[in-house]
């Protein structure tokens, strides 16, 4: 019960501190899930994001479900998923009921201008951390650049990147293993 409450409150915190889309959640996830609670490693977080890219649903919710399931199966996944959506339900309802379009107030616009810059700084630091744990050799660097080119420069779907990454990963490892065996027999 204590663990379920912990999952709920941790993801409640992540939900309430995330401004803007899934990318802004990355630094919060690293701080809470990887560094604070040790529920997942940096590598596992990348695995979750990989699956989240090609499955339906909101990436924040998918990651919450993943972490919760890993800790406490279905009931854990429920606790963390409810945790990540709870702040939205409360905050949005209060705004919708009483405040109208808050994004039209200058003070909100000005605060968001600064919040976005903080989010940028946090995202840069997060990507550097992920790059260190995810890109370990020349093949990794190739995959990183490949994904960046396909999705960023050519603007193609990330599903294509994910499928090619699976194929390339397997081909690379199989060739590497063969070469190793050859060296051993020679």
């Amino acid at each position: 019960m204590r663990e379920l409450l912990e999952l709920y409150t941790s993801f409640f915190k992540i939900g309430i501190m995330t401004f803007g889309g899934g990318m802004a959640m990355l630094p919060m996830l690293q701080a809470e899930v990887v560094e604070n609670k040790h529920w997942a490693t940096e590598d596992e977080l990348l695995n979750y994001f990989a699956v989240g890219q090609c499955t339906p649903g909101i990436i924040a919710v998918n990651t919450a479900t993943f972490v919760g399931f890993k800790e406490k199966k279905a009931i854990g996944a429920l606790a963390s998923t409810l945790g990540v959506v709870s702040p939205s339900i409360v905050i949005i309802m209060v705004i919708a009921a009483f405040m109208g379009n808050i994004s039209e107030y200058p003070v909100v616009q000005n605060a968001l201008w600064g919040i976005r810059l903080a989010a940028c700084a946090l995202i840069v630091s997060s990507i550097i951390k992920l790059f260190k744990s995810g890109v370990k050799d020349v093949f990794g660097l190739f995959m990183f650049l490949f994904a960046f080119m396909i999705a960023g420069v050519f603007g193609l779907s990330s599903v294509i990147v994910v499928i090619s990454a699976i194929v390339f990963g397997n081909v690379y490892r199989i060739i590497k293993d063969k070469n190793k065996k050859k060296e051993e027999t020679e």
Binding site: G15, T18, G21, G22, M23, P27, M28, L46, F49, A50, Q53, C54, T55, G57, I58, N62, T65, F66, F69, T81, V85, S88, I89, I92, M93, A96, A97, N101, S103, Q109, N110, A111, L112, W113, G114, R116, L117, C120, A121, I123, V124, S125, I127, L130, G134, M143, F144, A147, F148, A151, G152, S158, V159, S164, A165, I166, V167, Y172, R173, I174
Partner: protein, 188 residues
């Protein structure tokens, strides 16, 4: 009855919107046209508010649309309907990942996937950089240079220095950013 329509529409959105919160917008636009819960102009306001409040944008949008359609009950029902497909699908995948973790092909796949995902996340972050550092979207290089917000870049550089050197919790920098934004944009 409205509850049932909300459940149907948001399970559909949760099931087919692949790749983040912004992917829910086309579905919500369809909802706006199909029912008289809210119109397209309301939808634009809803996007602006969802982006300026905490929480995943897709979840914020679902809560908002549900509240407009059927009050507090509608908001709760829509949000739960939106996350329900992910909850089921991810649990199935997580279960399989545990089972097949030792499988060579699964391990090989992640050797390719992990660096590729870092690349995808880098691409995804470009969007937030564009709106943060440029006052408007330009069409030519000259226009982009003209729209560059130097003040924003200086604040960003200082925040980045803080993030890399001090290693405090992310929320601290979000708070500093908010205060800096209010002070700098109001008085300078």
């Amino acid at each position: 009855m409205t509850y049932l329509y909300l459940i149907y529409e948001f399970i559909k959105t949760g099931l087919f919107a692949i790749g983040g919160g912004m992917a829910t917008i086309p579905f919500l636009h369809e909802v706006a046209l199909k029912y008289d819960w809210f119109n397209t102009a309301d939808l634009v306001d809803m996007i602006a508010i969802s982006e300026s409040t905490p929480g995943p944008i897709g979840v914020n949008m679902a809560t908002f649309a549900g509240f407009e359609a059927a009050g507090v009950g509608g908001a709760v029902v829509s949000t739960l309907a939106l996350v329900f497909p992910s909850y089921i699908i991810i649990m199935i995948i997580a279960g399989m990942m545990e089972k097949f973790q030792k499988n060579t092909y699964v391990q090989n796949s992640f050797v390719g996937l992990r660096p590729a995902v870092v690349g995808l996340l880098t691409v995804a972050s470009v969007a937030i950089f564009k709106v943060s550092f440029f006052t408007e979207a330009g069409k030519t290089l000259e226009q982009w240079i003209g729209y560059f917000d130097y003040k924003a870049f200086v604040v960003f550089a200082l925040l980045l220095f803080g993030v890399m050197k001090l290693k405090k919790h992310p929320i601290i920098y979000i708070g500093i950013g908010a205060v800096a934004g209010i002070v700098l944009q109001t008085y300078f």
